[in-house]
Symmetry: C2
Subunit: 227 residues, 2 copies
DNA sequence: CGATCGGTAATTGTGTACGATCGCAAACGA
DNA sequence: TCGTTTGCGATCGTACACAATTACCGATCG
């Protein structure tokens, strides 16, 4: 693996895991020292992270970790609903029987973890969910669309949605996963797109209206990077 | 201006103007020599262009200019229709009176150039059209959405659509521009989105079915970079 | 007391050398 | 004749040194 890739992964992980908080200044020289490499790979990594929107770089002032407002979140979820529903629509007329079978298997396993009392269980469900959505995107067979979706899905708070779901939310999500499979199976793009749009907008509602008063820490439990 | 930015612009221009054809291998050392700079800024430029999809880089084999298939074009226009209609929808509830007035002015000027017999006239219309769409995107007030649209609009064949329009196409396009203004003025997001979707898909049809048998050279007339 | 104008230090931007890796072709053996 | 291997050349990946630019802070003046 290239040193630049390693630096990219390391810095990205630090941001997504919350060990560097938004607003923090990232200085090339410091990063190079910490990651045991030179500034050149660090620069490449920072530029990539900037392109993904995780960093904002100002000349001679270093790169700062982006901050996310509520408005940003809304915007991101709206974007995601548009893109993912388009992916689902395309997938409906392209998906294979094998992929459909795998989607069913994923749903089964998620239902098995259903109670989701432990944090580990939630992590597991989150991973399965990511896999599920990855399969749908892949079935859409549009690299460009896929890239765009990734860039909005990988953002810190987005991949942690499941940690804010309560039982009814989980149930609805599971139902939508099943319904989407039906829509895909019969090749109904309109239906598939609509289900996916609802699915994403439901997630948006859960995140944007933080009326869950239990733990209330939005600390990002880091999911397996789905890149 | 940073040397890296200059290199980026120069290379991008070469690709978009067609002076380097798809498939060409771009070698960092050569580019550095040609552009009177060192490899470091070149590297940064190439990475940015790669992120935009204009290049495909393989380690130790150099960067190659991406090739576009018909399927790519379809995909790009579908993406664009989804994104631009979303932008129009957002713009409908955010656009200002001033911006609306400018849109009207742009339409008036485009109608003035309507016959569009000369190539210069078409270039002029193309520039006005770009400005029009830029205003709508800006009114959507979503940097992320805007960035995504730019990345699909800046592709070579996309910004040259007007050079393939015949009189009826131009007329329809003009009508849609006017209709969109109406939708925006009354703040009807659904309407605005639908008009924009139709507008983009009409452009897609013109490009993807190349049944125009006049000049038939798809040589890309380079529009002003709208970045 | 506030604003403006320096100077200094920190940080990024660029050039270049060197090492690593890979593709390609020629030579060798079966 | 064909497959394999080996060596060379080309190209990228990384490191580091230096230049340029800018931010920050303190001092001075109104």
């Amino acid at each position: 693996m290239k040193s630049a890739d390693a630096a990219y992964d390391a810095i990205r992980l630090q941001i997504l895991s919350g060990s560097v908080t938004p607003g923090t200044r990232l200085i090339e020289a410091d990063l190079a020292r910490d990651l045991q490499t030179s500034r050149t790979p660090i620069r490449e990594a920072l530029r990539r992270l900037e392109a993904e929107g995780l960093l904002e770089v100002s000349p001679h002032r270093g790169a700062r970790v982006s901050e996310w407002t509520l408005e940003d979140l809304r915007e991101i979820y709206d974007l995601r609903s548009a893109l993912e529903s388009m992916a689902a629509e395309r997938a409906a007329i392209r998906i294979s029987e094998e992929t459909l079978a795998e989607l069913v298997a994923l749903c089964d396993e998620m239902d098995g973890q259903a109670p989701a009392r432990t944090s580990a269980s939630r992590d597991r469900i989150s991973a399965l969910n990511n896999r599920y959505h990855d399969l749908v995107r892949e079935a859409a067979a549009s690299p460009r669309l896929n890239t765009m979706i990734q860039s909005v899905v990988q953002l810190p708070l987005v991949s942690a949605t499941f940690h804010r779901y309560r039982a009814p939310d989980m149930q609805r999500s599971a139902n939508q996963h099943r319904e989407l499979i039906e829509a895909l199976r019969v090749g109904d793009g309109q239906w598939a797109g609509a289900v996916m749009r609802a699915h994403v907008l439901a997630a948006k509602a859960t995140l944007v209206k933080p009326d869950i008063a239990d733990g209330s820490d939005i600390a990002v439990g880091l999911d397996a990077p789905n890149s």
